[in-house]
Amino acid sequence: MSELEIKQNNSSEVKPNASVKEKLQIPYAVLCELTHRCPLSCPYCSNPVELEMKSKEIDTETWKRALSEAVKIGILQAHFSGGEPTARKDLEELIQHASSIGLYTNLITSGVLITEERLKKFYDAGLDHVQVSIQDTDPENSEKIAGYKGHAKKLHTCGLIRKVGLPLTVNAVMHRQNLHNLKSMIDLAVELDAERLEVAQVQYYGWALKNQTAFLPTKEQLDNATEIVEEARVRLKGILAIDYVVPDYYAKRPKSCMGGWGRQFLNITPAGKVLPCHAAESLNFLEFDNIKDKPLSWIWENSDAFNRFRGTSWMPEPCQSCDRKEIDWGGCRCQAFALTGNENATDPTCEFSPYRNVLDEPLSNVGKEEIPEFIYRKINVRKPLNGIGHNSNKSPKS
């Protein structure tokens, strides 16, 4: 029996498979980003900086067709995400469709828009699992990070999820401004009867890169966090599973982002673009095919965007002669491009990367600089926002 983690965030736990080579793989999961609309405006949002408007969103029938095509190419799981996926009124219909054709369904939500009635509809439609983001255990800081007063509602939603009978994963993006609460986040996950806690790290491209100084943790914070997780994993074995990896800036080797480009995973944007990774639009030179124009099977096999970094032939040295090239598959392309301007660059996380300094430089300043105000995710960057956390008179530093 082999176990494969197929979460969209990077993970170091996927085991290498010696027999894969350049052969086309059967994908495991599709991330359906139903909308970019979201009441929250987290400054590390993984959505692209150029967000899609509601008018560009693909309709229910197109989503259903995409899901049916996904099953045909061997996809096993569908993640409904966003933005905030519950902002789509057809979510229960899409869950029902996905479930009826054999897909395992996962809802990735902020939890702030869900009623018990709607949750029951999702359950009856066949929903298998829910993942709720919690920004911090301290309500005030949680709401400051999210840019929205919704902390109590989130906790309430977690309770409803368990009451309805669905398994719960708590997703906690941990960084400089909340790592001191990691212990209480673990306690909270247990209290909420979650089965898993995903301690996620900020990846620096798009929105998060604009906020890098605000998020990069200190070495001391990180060492402390690792110790806390190790202790909790032993204590909570069989009660709470904790996903945790050392963030790239403090790692020596890259992670197998997405389990390798175009190997396990695809992402469909609100407008129907099919991407190898949810952040791939940050690689602004790539052209993406659209589910409205082409079948998913064609896109998986032939799309230039998928073939651009598939396998290992695109890799420069020292990757090309590295014995880990089929373990990390070149790491994270989006972060490498965002930080070096070179899309083929050896992931700066790697200690052998000629670009390692782009990580080490910001690290050398961590803890010395004043923590800047957040630059919040928003659809139109020129419009003033009414949410909390936006009222500062200081202009944000980038």
Binding site: M1, S2, I6, L76, Q77, D128, Q131, G165, E195, G238
Partner: protein, 96 residues
């Protein structure tokens, strides 16, 4: 709160709602879908898991496997079955 489960032959195992067993045509393998992970089952694990139905005890499952694989010692089958189911139970994907 979830309790830690240690399986013995008297237990009647089943999969929780959120662990879904099915045969995957694309991979020609039995798989279990679970939150953000997939278990691809090898031949032995597939034989065991197909007998997990929420009615048969592990004892009964082992007997059925002994009948099917004549000549294999019961203690070997018992050990394989318990360890395979326990590894799933540790993660909450087998319950009683």
């Amino acid at each position: 709160m979830t309790e830690l489960l240690t399986l013995n032959e008297e237990h009647i195992p089943k999969l929780p709602r959120h662990a879904k067993l099915r045969f995957d045509e694309a991979r020609k393998k039995w798989i279990i879908n679970a939150p953000e992970r997939v278990f691809e089952l090898d031949e032995i694990a597939s034989e065991i898991i197909q007998l997990v139905n929420g009615e048969s005890s592990i004892n009964v499952i082992i007997d059925a496997l002994c009948d099917k694989f004549e000549g294999a010692p019961r203690e070997v089958i018992s050990k394989d079955t318990l360890s395979m189911l326990q590894s799933l139970a540790d993660k909450g994907f087998v319950i009683i």
